[in-house]
């Protein structure tokens, strides 16, 4: 079997991730931050250490500004619903996922104005194209760091600098880049960063977070949920302290234990080294696929300008039949269709039929790439 659906969720997970989750359940099964007994404290320590390692991983000084969520969608909703009020303007890029577009379309019905800056047919955004939208003094600019459809990397720092000059906050959706590219919240110059744990950070589903930049004022951001935090229990109002202000309810401790092990696995190998490998294999795949008659590849032709996510179509074939044959005849697992990102497919010109997406991972081998190219060649001539 060849797993090429890492942009949906990474597989396989490193063994230490599985081990950390088992250890958590066996040895640290208390409710972190609620009770004072040893199992509760053991769980609390695992959560705190994870907060520190995530802060370090993303270049954040204050680990209290790592807010755990269930996934990137939850983190993006916290940021979007927490920042925007009726009458506010928001600017988005043309490659956004529905995790951003759906909360924005929801808020549009409640008085928020949404401006979309188009991307070109390769999914690329031109920072200069943001000028007219930024002239409307938006409260927020949301940018997808890399497309989940074709991997195109957005010039986040350039856009953020223009957005800040216009007085806007910047939220980056790093679902596809955290663990793939070196992602530093200060170099990106953003105020809020949403990530998921179960993709390239190699953790389990049900983990993710929103990072508040060290300079960001938390009073700008309302919590999405209120409830028990284990702190200031004598009061019925939500505490202002970080991270509790945004983290009500029992956290996914077992998942976060796995996520922390995933981060360690990445740090031991080095995100830059893994990135070099992924550039190499995605270049090999792109070159091989581009030789196939009738096959159209999307995204930038230079693999340095994209994550290891490739989308293609074949003339005269539906994406679903290609995906079916890949799975059934060759045990190659991919994702076909619109990838929850109609906006991105509009930009690429592949809406509504969609594309076949192959997304590689750190353990994808050269041999697997070659087998995949041969399989697609054969499917193209069926």
């Amino acid at each position: 079997m060849i797993y090429l659906d890492n942009a949906a969720t990474s597989w396989p997970k490193p063994q230490p991730v599985i081990q950390a989750m088992q250890d958590y359940l066996e040895r640290a099964g208390g409710n972190p931050g609620r009770s004072g007994h040893r199992l509760s404290i053991a769980a609390g320590r695992i959560l705190y250490d994870a907060r520190e390692s995530l802060a370090e991983f993303f270049g954040l000084q204050d680990p209290f500004r790592v807010i755990f969520t269930l996934n990137a969608t939850h983190a993006l909703n916290l940021a979007i619903h927490g920042l925007l009020r009726p009458g506010d303007q928001v600017v988005v890029g043309g490659m956004e996922h529905n995790a951003v577009m759906r909360p924005l379309r929801w808020l549009e019905k409640h008085g928020v104005q949404v401006a979309k800056v188009p991307a070109n047919q390769h999914g690329q955004l031109d920072p200069a194209a943001f000028a007219s939208a930024l002239a409307q003094s938006p409260r927020l600019v949301v940018i997808n760091h890399a497309s989940n459809v074709c991997g195109t990397i957005a010039p986040v720092a350039e856009i953020a600098s223009l957005a800040h000059a216009a007085g806007a906050f910047v939220l980056v959706d790093a679902a596809q880049t955290a663990g793939v590219l070196p992602v530093d919240i200060n170099s990106l110059d953003v105020d809020l960063l949403a990530f998921t744990g179960h993709k390239s950070l190699l953790g389990p589903p049900g983990t993710g977070g929103l990072l508040l930049a060290d300079h960001f004022e938390p009073q700008e951001l309302k919590p999405l949920v209120q409830g028990g935090t284990g702190s200031r229990s004598e009061f019925e109002i939500q505490p202002d302290d970080l991270p509790d202000h945004y983290e009500s309810g029992t956290p996914n401790g077992v998942g976060i234990a796995g996520l922390a092990a995933g981060i360690s696995w990445l740090q031991e190998r080095g995100v830059e080294n893994l990135r070099d490998h992924e550039i190499e294999i995605s270049r090999r795949l792109r070159q091989g696929l581009s030789q196939i008659p009738g096959l159209c590849l999307y995204g930038p032709s230079d693999s340095q300008q994209a994550t290891a996510v490739l989308s293609f179509t074949i003339e005269g074939k539906t994406v679903s039949e290609i995906g079916y044959h890949l799975d059934e005849d060759y045990e190659i697992l991919c994702r076909v269709g619109l990838h929850c990102a109609p906006a991105a497919h509009h930009s690429l010109g592949t809406f509504p039929s969609g594309t076949v997406r192959l997304s590689l991972g750190p353990t994808t081998t050269h041999a697997q790439i070659d087998q995949t190219i041969r399989a697609v060649e054969r499917i193209a001539t069926l």
Binding site: P32, G33, R34, S35, G36, H37, S40, I41, G44, R45, L47, Y48, R51, P63, F64, T229, G230, S231, R232, S233, E234, P239, D241, L242, P243, D244
Partner: protein, 79 residues
């Protein structure tokens, strides 16, 4: 004359603060322990740090310079 208490309890607003402080104070070599927050000091649930009374000012210095909000109480009633 009443003798000084043997232990101090350091109280925090969040568990995250208590756990961060535990790491900071252990790194500084202080003899500390996480304990359930004494009920007579706070109605809050969660954990506090117990340290030697004579080392409380060192602990306070470390926590203040790290920007961790905390309160120090004597813990003679607990032991």
């Amino acid at each position: 004359m009443i003798a000084d208490p043997f232990f101090a309890a350091i109280l925090f607003h969040t568990t995250t603060s208590a756990l961060r402080s535990e790491k900071l104070l252990k790194k500084a070599g202080l003899e500390i322990k996480l304990v359930p927050t004494p009920r007579h000091l706070s109605s809050d649930c969660g954990i506090a740090i117990r340290c030697l009374w004579i080392e409380r000012q060192i602990a306070q210095g470390i926590l203040s310079s790290a920007g961790v909000e905390h309160e120090v109480h004597s813990l003679d009633e607990m032991i």
